[in-house]
């Protein structure tokens, strides 16, 4: 194809160049100007080729598979680093600030004690955050197959793990019978742990009053289909404007002084529920508490 000098750099000309349909480009015109235009046109052709290769590579399943593998390997490396390499220096800081306080605390100025407490708290918070991050990142990769599991037993397991917190906060937990559901047992316990811990954390000043129930409430109606389980607390609640946001990672609606959470509990809960094919949502009112509800498939016959 032969183009006049103006055409080579016109939109149509550019489109032709990028389309890669040209074998030869001859530009007519004054030598100097033509050379410049040819150079510009050649640049455009190279750019077109590069762009085309890039697009092809992105669409090539093999390339994608390699990229995916690479990303997965990176993620695994990060997860291992988070679980092992990062824990060690943190353990040193948390333990030795504790020791400093225990053995030399009375020799320290109150202001120095305060600095030390901040340092220790920071280290402990980071430890909890890393642990939650790890839990979150392992929900998919370490998830087991879904089997009939007693939701009541999972609540028992969660309450056992949270024993110290329940005692410390003098929480009362009211429970209605729950059905057997199709779930990964370990994750179901984790789910209840996250929600119950959340309920106790956001209790406000009064001892937490938590209720666990479900719809439909009648055991006879459990067979088949799904069940909606609800965890309700009478605590700080939240503004419904934030109803979606609260399930995002690291979201905190309260200051660190009010609440000592890692901001991961609800994100973990959502990830687990979604892995089980369910949905999760929350309703709340500031000062009047909140209810987190989620659906799970009911196990056909008993476990």
């Amino acid at each position: 194809m032969v183009l006049g000098p103006a055409a080579a750099t016109s939109p149509e000309g550019r489109a032709l160049l990028l389309g890669g349909g040209l074998d030869l480009l001859v530009v007519l015109g004054a030598p100097v100007a033509a050379r410049a235009r040819v150079a510009a046109a050649e640049d455009l052709v190279s750019l077109g080729t590069i762009l085309q290769e890039h697009v092809d590579a992105q669409l090539d399943p093999e390339h994608q598979a390699t990229e995916l593998e690479r990303a997965r390997a990176d993620l695994q490396l990060f997860a291992y680093a988070a679980s092992h390499e990062l824990q060690e220096p943190l353990r040193m800081v948390a333990s030795y600030t504790e020791l400093l306080c225990d053995e030399f605390g009375d020799q320290l100025d109150p202001q120095a004690r305060r600095y030390l407490d901040f340092a220790h708290d920071g280290a402990r918070r980071m430890q909890r955050l890393l642990a939650d991050l790890l839990t979150y990142s392992r929900i998919q990769s370490r998830g087991g197959p879904l089997r009939p599991v007693s939701a009541d037993a999972a609540v028992d397991g969660a309450l056992e793990a949270l024993g110290a917190e329940v005692r410390r906060t003098h929480a009362t937990i009211a429970r209605a019978p729950l059905p057997a559901v199709l779930a990964d047992e370990r994750q179901l316990v984790q789910l209840f742990e996250a929600l119950l811990s959340n309920a106790m954390t956001f209790a406000g000043a009064a001892p937490p009053q938590v209720r666990i129930d479900c719809t439909p409430p009648d055991p006879a109606q459990f067979a088949g289909g799904g069940v909606e389980i609800r965890v309700t607390d009478g605590g700080l609640g939240f503004d419904m404007r934030h109803a979606e946001r609260i399930f995002d990672v690291f979201q905190r609606l309260h200051t660190r002084d009010e609440i000592d959470g890692t901001g991961m509990g609800l994100a973990i809960a959502r990830r687990i529920v979604e892995r089980h094919g369910g949905r999760i949502s929350a309703v709340g009112e500031p000062g009047r508490g909140a209810t987190v509800r989620f659906t799970l498939p009911v196990a056909g016959e008993g476990p």
Partner: protein, 143 residues
């Protein structure tokens, strides 16, 4: 309860001190021997060279990641040895990676414990270990 001979195999001096403190606070009567790498641990256990008079420990606390000969190799050699294999070996390590846990039990570790995040928690773990291995459990007499 007799004084327990404990061999701690740990290269991080920070962790060594924490175990000493933890045992002290939990009031566990013990003689703690520390090996800071795998080779030293094996020399002590097999009573080689300067360690010819070493006592066979009642319990081994073993970190997995050691310079040179690593903890997994130490574990393997202990559990393959016809007399040393009866010594309880508790892996006490930073990692909780599934591969590490599996490998440890495959090599016949008696238990796998992830190092607790604080001294207070470590003290509680050591208390439980002491109660379990030195009070509740019966270990064979002599060597």
């Amino acid at each position: 309860m007799k004084v327990a001979d404990i061999l701690l195999v740990e290269d991080n001096p920070g962790d060594v001190l924490l175990v000493r403190k933890g045992l002290e606070r939990a009031r566990i009567a013990n003689r703690l021997t520390v090996a800071t790498d795998g080779q030293q641990a094996l020399d002590i256990l097999f009573r080689r060279g300067e360690h010819a008079d070493a006592v066979v420990p009642d319990l081994v606390l073993l970190d997995l990641n050691l310079p040179g000969i690593d903890g997994r190799e130490v574990l393997r050699q202990i559990k393959e040895h016809e007399t040393l294999r009866k010594v309880p070996v508790v892996v006490l390590t930073s990692s909780d990676a599934e591969t590490d846990i599996l490998r440890s039990y495959e090599l016949h570790a008696n238990s796998f414990i992830r190092k607790p995040p604080t001294l207070d928690a470590l003290q509680q773990v050591l208390q439980v270990l002491s109660d379990y291995w030195f009070v509740i459990v019966k270990l064979p007499e002599g060597e």
